[in-house]
Symmetry: C2
Subunit: 528 residues, 2 copies
């Protein structure tokens, strides 16, 4: 079923538009109308071909009506093709594909022209389930009856349809022109999308209902698309390792490489994959929440109003920052927090234990006492969007250091599992908006990322969306994903206690063992 000959645009999309000009029927060649087209397609290696009853009634008539020439649109279902439409030679039939990144917080759509391979439009909206719970756990608990599960499922479908309707219209196409949809989400979101019971995902031994979703039809899910459009949901590896990470692997291309690389996705959890084209090991661990907003008092997502970059002058302790969008700051996002900790540490404002250095209280009025203990003012109230001092406390910093320690520990443990040093890893791909915003130098300084040459760190952006798009443009990825799922070894770090010792060492800045971070200069002041 694999077809390796590239189509005219150098892509192998899951929807093919094939022009045809068949021999006219004669006594010497009296094959049936339908089979005549199939014989032609078979020569193009498009076989076997099936269709639905509705199309079977319609398509042979179309073939004949168009004088045995025209264009055929076929969708790829792994083990066969489905003929979904036939039209005349002069009709322009855009074949659209919609790739969704279905995040817990945001839903991103990439609308593609599957003939040219071009991205026509990119848009994103809030996940409509947020009112039912910011985090996944709350939503899982809410969805404890069939009706409520259906309710949360419907919310996603309706939102998808809204976005699809709007986007398809924007590119001047019609509902029927959308022939393929791919969806990459974490395990729980994929369960909500397919209306599957997620209740066992969060209970030991953490069992999803489904890992490998069957291919579905748009009509089955009531999606705004051609009724026969194929719907591909990226498979999960486990409850805490979802299709979003599989899409990330696809986006990175690490599964095709000889060299060993690593993919890090910092979301609610930190998910890490290590491997190459022959083997792959993965784990997930609670690491990320502090970087996602909501956990640190003034933390927020990387969106307008969030400080995403911080610099501190180690002489004057003067602080400069960058805010996303043309706005006053109202909070600080993950990359901003990493910058902040790294710069505070560099200036001696933080000790290696991660405490605000009260010795400097007389050198800067940014260090204050609050009822939660010592705090540091990032932005004074007259600079902020909400007229409140934007501060960070020792408690916040403690939470953050736990996150970074978890991340560092996971990266090391996963390498050790396969007998590698972290320095053997040729590329570290960082997924998500976080990956695009993070400054690896800063992350190394706080001991979150390992002390490797900076060119080994590659921010990939929305890897879920990129992976989902890539699949629509290359049907061989169906098989690549199956291979990945078969070869990947998943380690459940949540149940692994051997990390405790390592984790403790990593709670320091950058680490209790400074030899692990030769490039990081430890300021005298920070030694506390």
């Amino acid at each position: 079923m694999q077809n390796n000959s590239l189509s005219k645009n150098g892509i192998l999309p899951v929807v093919e538009t094939i022009g045809f000009d068949l021999e006219k029927p004669s006594l010497n060649d009296n094959i049936a109308d339908w089979d005549r087209l199939l014989r032609f397609l078979e020569k193009k290696k498009i076989a076997p071909v099936r269709t639905t009853f509705n199309n079977l009634k319609r398509l042979p008539v179309q073939i004949r009506r168009n004088g045995f020439s025209g264009q055929a649109i076929l969708t790829f279902w792994k083990h066969y093709w489905e003929l979904v439409d036939v039209c005349g030679t002069n009709t322009t039939l855009p074949a659209l594909g919609a790739a969704f990144d279905l995040g817990t917080t945001r839903i991103a759509l990439y609308l593609l022209d599957l003939t040219s391979g071009k991205e026509l439009l990119k848009t994103s909206v809030d996940n409509p389930q947020i009112p039912y719970g910011e985090d996944i756990l709350t939503r899982i608990i809410y969805a404890n009856t069939e009706e409520r599960l259906e309710e949360l499922h419907d919310l996603i479908i309706q939102k998808f349809n809204e976005v699809l309707k709007d986007s398809i219209k924007k590119v001047g196409a019609e509902r029927n022109n959308l022939y393929a949809i791919s969806v990459a989400g974490n395990t729980t979101m994929s369960h909500f999308f397919t209306c599957l019971d997620p209740s066992n995902i969060c209970k030991e031994p953490y069992i999803p209902s489904v890992n490998r979703f069957p291919l579905l039809k748009a009509s089955e899910l009531d999606l705004y698309a051609n009724r026969d459009a194929l719907v591909y949901v990226f498979p999960n590896i486990g409850s805490y390792f979802g299709g979003d990470i599989i899409a990330g692997i696809i986006a990175s291309g690490m599964h095709r490489k000889e060299e060993v690389s690593m993919l890090i996705d910092v979301g609610t959890n930190a998910e890490v994959v290590l491997g190459n084209k022959d083997w792959m090991i993965a784990c997930a661990g609670a690491a990320g929440p502090a970087l996602e907003g909501g956990v640190v008092e003034r933390g927020m997502m990387a969106m307008p109003g969030a400080i995403d970059k911080v610099r501190i002058n180690p002489e004057t302790f003067e602080l400069t920052y960058h805010v996303i969008g043309d706005k006053k700051p109202i909070g600080i996002c993950g990359s901003g927090l990493i910058d902040l900790i790294a710069e505070m540490f560099q200036a001696g404002l933080l000790t290696i234990q991660g405490k605000i250095n009260l010795k400097l209280k007389n050198k800067t009025d940014r260090i204050i006492e609050t009822e939660d203990g010592p705090a540091f003012i990032i932005a004074y109230k007259d600079e902020t969007g909400d007229n409140r001092d934007l501060i960070i406390t020792d408690i916040d910093i403690g939470i953050l250091l736990k996150s970074k320690a978890a991340m560092y520990t996971i990266l090391n443990v996963i390498c050790r599992k396969v007998g590698l040093e972290i320095s053997d890893v040729s590329k570290i791909y960082i997924a998500g908006t976080f990956g695009n915003h993070i400054n690896p130098k800063m992350a190394i300084r706080i001991g979150m990322l390992p002390d490797l040459p900076l060119d080994r760190f590659v921010g990939l952006g929305n890897t879920s969306g990129i992976g989902a798009s890539k699949l629509l443009l290359n049907r061989n990825i169906f098989n690549e994903i199956e291979t990945i799922c078969n070869m990947i070894t998943y380690i459940e770090l949540n149940v692994n206690v051997e990390l405790m010792h390592e984790f403790r060492g990593a709670l320091f800045i950058p680490h209790t063992d400074p030899n692990l971070f030769p490039s990081v200069k430890i300021p005298e002041l920070a030694k506390g």
Copy 2:
């Protein structure tokens, strides 16, 4: 996708009921519920497995609810399996299959238990399209609008559903227990069944809409069955060579044999297939109508009231006959006609030219003159069911001889096409009710069948129904049929004029060349 390991009952049905008792989920084995079952099935070589959205929502829950043990019902879709149901260990889930012989005149249903392989019930009903035309051509002409095509299509579906409902109830099962349906019919009937335009079937160059029907779902056709039941329609080779003959080949098993054999189906047309496991040649020609009833004045189908056997004492010219059912005769069916001609010839009542021997008029009062010329009384009016003399005329006999001459010619021509003598053919399978009733000795005597040892002739009965049943019980037949379709060479004899000379010789009884029929003694009286 081929699975050669026989299931427990020595069959490989298109529906498998697989008992399972899975490992319970644990931290060390935390694969998803759905994938847990699929992993088990894969070990049984049942893979890949898909399902519909509706079943995806339902089945993982069922698996868990049943404590990870139970039974899974899967249907075979050539390139993958579909999981359609899961139930507890103690539930009895009959997996039914329905094989249909969809004839122009009669529809026969064979209801099978696909677990044991047993035939549970066999029944037949009139084709409800008969009021729209006894013959196919009239129905094709009637169905010249979409509405009328739909009308004729609906008639079949409704009749199928009536018969299915009734039969499923009779065997104590339910609609949902029917998981597979196979349908073998001629090209036109298969088009009506799938609601396809048949209009080009009867116009040169005789092009069907579809030869190889895609697998369909019962719900698509609104059939009374499990909504996910698979519907297989036997493929056509051409307009005059339909799925009924493919089913006939399957019923005969000739496609698996080393030796060369022949399949003859005498219906409205005579369809003939010659070949073995490596090659196959087929043709169809107008030959049969005289033997089907309706053409010969008093001809009728092989049904109650029809004379199906005739013997004539050559000394006394006394005639004895056998009537189907416990009834008075009202007509004579194909096998009866062959007997009649053979016995009349043997007694000298017919000349080798096929004329009633008027020289014998003074020896028997069965020879009479009518306004249509000489006739022979088969049954006197006091013996018949309609109080009319049951007669046959010279004209009738002429029509019959044309049929038998066509048949004999076709058999010889097809052999010659591949450089064989008819005597090289190891078995001649005769399909249809006709095949079950015909007496080969009589058919040889009139020169309809070649003069071969009688044990080479095998009557097979309802080959369409048998072939359709066999497919449900052996999924490898999907591929066997594809192989047959790919290798068969179809010769359109309707457009072949080279047969004229041969045909003329075969119009005599048994033939102008008596050396072709060494076993047939030609009575002096018949020499005319």
